[in-house]
Amino acid sequence: MKTKLPLTLMIIMAILGLTGYFMPHPTVDTLNTYLRNTLLRIISAFALILGLGNLIQHHVKRIEKKGANWRQSYTLLAGLIVTAIIGLFGGVSGDGMLPTQVGNFKYDVQTLYMQVLNPLGSTMFALLAFYMASAAYRSFRAKNFLSVLLLASAFIVMLGQVPFGYLISPSIPDFSQWIMGVPNTASKRGIELGVTLGALATSLKILTGIERSWMGGGS
């Protein structure tokens, strides 16, 4: 029963989703939209509560046990509680009952998102440039024929992206475009074709109950 119920529910939902693709009738569309939007939102909301509960529980335990870097858990919990209070009582852009401005200093959720979370996210994203450089340094080593091919292609493509490449030879940018447009696109499309058909096959395996690993391999 523990396995059969989720499996049956999944098969019913999957069949509904699949028929929705082939059946344009508003009855089917309304049902699918309801399942996709309304039910999934409800599930997401409950899952978020579970997720938050897990996060709080994990950090409370860490503080209790005084595990590694346990003081940082205070920062996380304090940030979580303060943001939740500001969001719940101060409104998204300071239109709630809680005052979210002292002089020129604003601390509503919108401001926190724009002025704190976004710059921090951008900082993380900026690290990508350095990670790319270190990954490129490691991978562009001419160890065998394939790695030489990779190195040469990368070198030409990089040269083709900067004016210096054109200065060396006007045909470098064209060659760079050819590498990106022909061999690169061809291999990418090959992978994408496999991914699409693989996704279809995986969906069918799940739909028919052959693939059950998502239930912890329960049979």
Partner: protein
Amino acid sequence: MKRILLALLVLGTAAAAASAQEALSPEVEETGPAPPAKVAARDTPNDAGNSVTVSWAAVPGVVRYRIERAGADGEFSELDFAGSVATSYVDQAAATGTAYRYRVVALFAGGGEAVSGPTSAVASSPQWFNSYLTGVALAIVLFVGTIVYFVRRAKRGEHLFVRRIAGLEAVDEAVGRATEMGRPILFVSGTGYIESIGTIAALNVLGQVAKKTAEYGTKLAVPNCDPVVFTVSREVVKGAYTEAGHPDAYDPNSVSFLVENRLSYSAAVSGILVREQPAANFFLGPFGGESLILAETGSTTGAIQISGTDSTTQLPFFVVACDYTLMGEELYAASAYLSREPLMLGALKGEDWGKFIFMVILTLGTIISLAAGIDVGKILSTTGY
């Protein structure tokens, strides 16, 4: 006599004027603008209703067309305009079940216009099946048929050869290494949502990896960035430990929810990688730009790294930063490969044959299309794609 002559003159002038007037009308009909011909209206096929398609034959010299519609009262009123090259118009404001008649007015430079005759009354209705997708439905049936055939062969106990996938062969090595070193295994099931097939494929692999960690008694850490994926991951790991016969070894804290923001998530996982120093890292599922942040940080810790994604733009990052990478569909095949269950292997084999058939059809279609100069895009556009 004079009166008679005057009367005759008046009559003659009137008759001449009348005949001139009569002659003028046919002259306008002959030399003036012609109305749109072959005007027809039909219920738009394969849709959800509320739509009628009006078509007509092109009129030379037209500036644009005015489409007029008449409802139950029979009075025609302006509906919309169509450009000079248009020969059809889709009325998406037609109420389902209500009969309408249409006429098309050709508008010319200088203000001239020619009105077509009205169409017969037509009502819009929704369809239960989109016939444009018959080919897709047949392809799915063919695909399912191939899978069923190979599953049956597998059930009969036939040996089915599956090519070696290095990344999946290394799973045992990775788990064994972590066990020997007494360090945890980190499993990241992508940064996508549960709707993504890549996430589901990653969770399938998680089930297999969790079974191995349960058998070896290795610590497992599964941080998640989506709350729904988190709850499913937890059930998957719990189920895998039970399946492996070690339900007591399951640690609920091994599966955790971190944060929904992807960049914050990559920062948090990077922190775990540096602090916990896992011996093996699995990065499987859909990823965005954070893939390289995670893989490079993991690489600096010296862990054995197995990655796999169906996001083609992230594959190069994983290839350079990880020891093994599952490319695209290999991720989907991973669960069957690891479990080695005959049923799953049969499905995998059928899947491969199905893909082979599709590839042959695509290649033949491309060759025929190129050789015969057939515009496939044009054909598809007429069938609703």
